[in-house]
Symmetry: C2
């Protein structure tokens, strides 16, 4: 399998990207990597050239570029070339740690949607505090406005992913809502509830509340992109704030508190580890003709390697071709 890597995306590119690729190469000798970006800058981190091709380009998309414009104007950008390679069948998937909006645009406009899928959704596997399983949530912000039909499709997409990529036999699909009762919700979620209830290909478990997400109330949680974005950022902001308040409380607590913190070091590290969702890989723009994956914020080589492992599983399990077949069959059944 061939993965097109935008080696210039992210704050510490190309260093951590290439280091992550080198790390992943050790576990996956069946992957051929195409690294797009400045050849000199990339080559200094390539410690083993087998299965590595560098495709040189000087152009790259900056983190503050306007996404759609950047994709259209910067035709030689590393991200655009990588997406082109996927479109033209020279690569099977694209990976980037760069500008999220631009990657979404590259995914939609260059790689393209699966026939029958209206609005691909951004999906991540988020941690469940009481176990290692996690849950898949989408849309996390690829769209600002969604229709009930999109939420139904997210249920199908998420279920496919949980089943094929994460090995959950019969994933529980929940609808994020403002109450668990069937009658609860906005106009959008009430209609989505109906559609999800009637869908035979998934196990719909009804409404779930934001309060219970991290307790593992479902394996897949669907919501509109606006709410999903707000919920994801609230989880991140709350966790970061609690950790910083805790740190400050320890630092200002004198010798006693500092000794306590020293003794508790491992426990605190456990908590951070439990919260770290880079362990599950990156965010997938799901519903496209090939895997298009973004790694999280401050990426290190391990997060890059985890994401490559995730792409390997996606390609290995053929989750995208299976999706294509599902929506093709559905369309034929309708006709």
């Amino acid at each position: 399998m061939k993965i097109a890597v935008d080696a210039m995306g992210g704050d510490h590119a190309p260093k951590v990207i290439v280091e992550g690729v080198m790390l992943a190469k050790q576990s996956f000798p069946d992957i051929e990597f195409q690294l797009y970006g400045k050849e000199d800058a990339i080559r200094q981190y390539v410690t083993d050239e087998t299965n590595i091709t560098i495709i040189h380009t000087d152009e790259k998309i900056a983190s503050d570029d306007e996404p759609v414009k950047a994709i259209r104007k910067k035709k030689q950008a590393s991200m655009v070339l990588a997406a082109q390679a996927v479109k033209e069948g020279r690569a099977d998937a694209i990976f980037s740690a760069g500008n999220t909006g631009a990657l979404l645009a590259a995914g939609l406009f260059i790689v393209g949607r699966i026939k029958g899928i209206e609005r691909p959704g951004l999906m991540s596997t988020l941690p469940v505090m009481t176990g290692n399983q996690g849950f898949d949530m989408l849309d996390l912000g690829a769209n600002a406005d969604n229709k009930p039909e999109h939420l139904l499709q997210y249920g199908i997409l998420g279920s496919f992913y949980a089943k094929n990529v994460r090995g959950i036999a019969n994933p529980r699909v929940g609808l994020l809502n403002n109450g668990t009762e069937e009658t609860k919700g906005s106009e959008l979620t009430k209609k989505a509830f109906e559609l999800l209830s009637q869908e035979p290909s998934i196990q719909f478990v009804g409404n779930v509340e934001a309060r219970d997400l991290l307790s593992g109330v479902a394996d897949v949680v669907v919501t509109d992109g606006f709410t999903g974005n707000a919920v994801l950022k609230t989880i991140e902001g709350t966790a970061a704030n609690i950790m910083s308040v805790l740190k400050e409380a320890i630092l200002s607590s004198g010798i006693k508190g500092k000794m306590g913190a020293l003794l508790l070091k491992e426990s605190l590290r456990d908590v951070k580890g439990q919260m770290d969702y880079a362990q599950y890989g990156g965010a997938v723009l799901f519903g496209l003709k090939a895997p298009v994956i973004k790694t999280h914020g401050a990426t290190g080589p391990e997060a890059v390697a985890n994401t490559i492992k995730q792409i390997h599983t996606m390609l290995d399990t053929q989750v995208v071709p299976k999706l294509v077949a599902h929506f093709e069959a559905e369309k034929n059944a309708e006709q």
Copy 2:
């Protein structure tokens, strides 16, 4: 001033409600309390009868009653009688720790909306991790669907509250959105952004992201009730989960971890204190002709007393009559 208290609402009613009233009485001898509910059950916790009137009723609304139906059918319920007292001018505000939906319904259908306010919003003051000031957020779920005009009104309502009740001279009003740039957002938030920008009576500071809420990015944050509900519950769920993972990590860490936890006890308590938003009082259904207030989940006497203090300030500063005058003037200006 007279406060109508639903003494039967909440898990530990009437005990904690009456104990909270007794606590508040010590600070506010100018409040006359009307306690609605079972006289015998209430009286055993009344340690000082000055300024206390008990209005007996056997009926009450259960936590799982269907809100609107309960308000219509249970005409003698403690919550309904308390709301009636406000409607008929026999009390100035109503306080309950009972069924939130029923209290919202009682507020809307019995107390009634301020003329010119379309959709009253549920508002709480939430904690900011880096200080004691907190921020007011609404709508937290009184409505499942909102229009841009409602979000504008929430900006005005929140600003009035922050100014009058919390003493913030020129409150910064932010719009919760999926990015900080002006062009970002859903159809709803884009239009709301426009309306908020043009409103002369508030200091609109633009879009704010959910990630930055707890860092004090604004004094007032407006959003639709569906998103607000999801964000509030995500904050609660994330905080509760982190605390429980931390506890578990400590408990399973052997003697070393337990010693550390003992030494860190005060710091951990500080963190919990910082997160405790009962310190700011209860949730206000704001936009009604009188203060209608709900205290948070597991209420203790201190939270009840804090909420009564909040009601006292609301009545003292005449924030509701000022709102009435504002929307009256606006209506006249339009004509």
